[in-house]
């Protein structure tokens, strides 16, 4: 397969450490094959930097097939770049034009401090999960599937919410750096299924309290999260979180 090549000007956020000051540095990324993914483009740039004896650009990545949630930076002002429902690792250089300037920055949120360059500490999301994003039952053997009927539409909605890979793009995209889409997806995937109902009230209160304590902003319904989510998680999940929270606060026994 013949591949085209493009030349890009990169402006990359370089920050040696969490306490150090950072700034945008300009790199010339010439001869980038359009078949390369965005991360492969960074690999190529890093190889050249290494060969030139310079510090390569640190960036997060893992599966590179769009399912792990590890990659993600803000590309020209858009988390995961300009393509809808596409993680950064699945974004290909054919979506850029020869001569383009590409500004690459880490997610900006008080709850996501930068560790180095484009690597952020996103463990705040793990803390929200630890506050209630689980079901406290002994699993044992898999139960007989038909012993717990789940309507197809509910199962589908739960699966749509469970598609969240926890990459944090919603927080990066939100003008308020709010984690409502992430938290709502995690609350919804359990709230929609019978296994999740017994702890639904406790979960909603605990996860919202934890989220608030981590320094995220408040949701003001800008809908940027839904537009930038690589998994297309809908803000109808946020409405469900609101319902679950109101129910839990006003009518459940949970304090």
């Amino acid at each position: 397969m013949s591949s085209k090549s493009i030349n890009l000007t990169l402006k990359v956020w370089r920050q040696p450490g969490s306490k150090a000051a950072g700034r945008l540095e300009t790199y010339q990324a010439d001869n980038i094959p359009t078949d390369a993914s965005f991360l492969e483009m960074l690999d190529i740039v890093n190889q050249r930097l290494t060969l030139a004896g310079k510090e390569p650009i640190a960036f997060d990545h893992d599966c590179r097939e769009g399912i792990c949630g590890m990659c993600g930076t803000v590309v020209n002002g858009r988390p995961h770049g300009p393509e809808r429902e596409t993680t950064l690792c699945q974004l290909h250089m054919r979506h850029f034009k020869d001569g383009d300037t590409v500004v690459i920055e880490p997610y900006r949120a008080r709850a996501f401090p930068v560790i180095k360059d484009l690597v952020m500490d996103r463990s705040a999301l793990d803390q929200i999960i630890m506050a209630g994003g689980f079901i406290s039952v002994n699993t044992g053997q898999a139960a007989e599937a038909n012993s717990l009927p789940v309507p197809k539409d509910k199962a589908d909605l739960a699966m749509d919410a469970a598609a969240c890979i926890g990459c944090g793009a919603c927080i990066a995209a939100c003008p308020n750096a709010s984690a409502m889409l992430f938290t709502s997806a995690k609350i919804s995937q359990f709230a929609l299924l019978p296994q999740g109902r017994p702890e639904a009230a406790k979960r909603a209160l605990a996860m919202v309290a934890c989220m608030d304590g981590l320094g995220f902003g408040n949701c003001t319904n800008h809908k940027e999260c839904e537009m930038e989510c690589p998994k297309g998680i809908s803000i109808s999940n946020i409405a469900r979180l609101n319902r679950e929270f109101i129910k839990a606060a006003l009518v459940s026994q949970e304090k």
Binding site: K11, W13, L24, V74, N76, G77, R78, V103, E105, R108, A109, R110, A111, A173, P175, N176, A177, S178, M180, V208, A209, M211, D212, G215, F216, G217, N218, C219, T220, N221, H222, K223, E224, C225, E226, M227, E228, I235, S236, I238, A239, R240, L241, N242, R243, F245, I246, A249, L250, K255
Partner: protein, 215 residues
């Protein structure tokens, strides 16, 4: 009652306060517009509407107290949310581009809100029966006086347009916040947001023109 305080201090709780008080204001806008549209029936029907409204006595006082409380809650919560949201992103992006979610209305809510607060002050100072003496002049004559003044007319028209932009995001946003998002009616509510904003702008905006034409 600590649970209630705790609930209302959470991010979701604060948004509930914004949404519920916001919905109250939307209801107020409806009644305020419907009542004032009586000007289309001429000065007599307009004055008669005002007299009937004031004849409600304590009921009107109760409504005014509820509106004042709602305003205090809405403004204080908004200020808290504004500063919390600013603090949540201490370092701004060098390039910040929309993915297509935010609108002019949604981005300007704190600022349109602040302007509306100022507008409410001017509006009450020029029209309210608590401030403006209505024993010697009826409301039609007061309105004629106020709107004849070009400065006040401009402030009023600008105020109405700002309210429309605030409502355009506020209406659907309030429904979303109280959890009323459903595939069957959310598309309708989102359209209603725009339609209601246009009705507010045209409805209230037309009032001074009618008043001046009847002068």
């Amino acid at each position: 009652m600590t649970w209630l305080y705790r609930t209302l201090s959470t991010s979701v709780g604060k948004k509930q306060l914004m949404a519920i008080t916001g919905l109250l204001f939307l209801l107020f806008l409806c009644t305020h517009l419907l009542g004032n549209l009586s000007i289309y029936g001429g000065p007599t029907s307009f004055v008669s509407y005002a007299e009937h409204l004031h004849a409600l006595g304590n009921l009107l006082v109760a409504a005014e107290v509820i509106m004042a409380l709602a305003l205090i809650i809405h403004v204080i919560t908004a200020v808290v949310l504004f500063f919390e949201n600013r603090a949540a992103r201490p370092i701004a992006y060098n390039v910040d581009k929309s993915g297509g979610g935010r609108t002019f209305s949604s981005q300007t809510m704190p600022y349109t809100g602040l302007l509306i607060l100022g507008f409410i002050g001017v509006h009450l100072a020029t029209f309210s029966h608590h401030i403006v003496d209505q024993t010697t002049r009826n409301i039609f004559l007061i309105a004629t006086d106020v709107f004849s003044h070009k400065g006040y007319l401009a402030i009023y028209l600008l105020g109405v347009i700002i309210v429309a932009f605030h409502v355009r995001h506020g209406l659907w946003s309030a429904f979303q916040t109280v959890g009323a998002n459903h595939p069957k009616y959310m598309p309708f509510i989102q359209k209603l947001s725009i339609v209601f904003a246009v009705i507010v702008a045209l409805g209230f905006g037309s009032l001074p023109l009618v008043v001046l034409s009847l002068r």
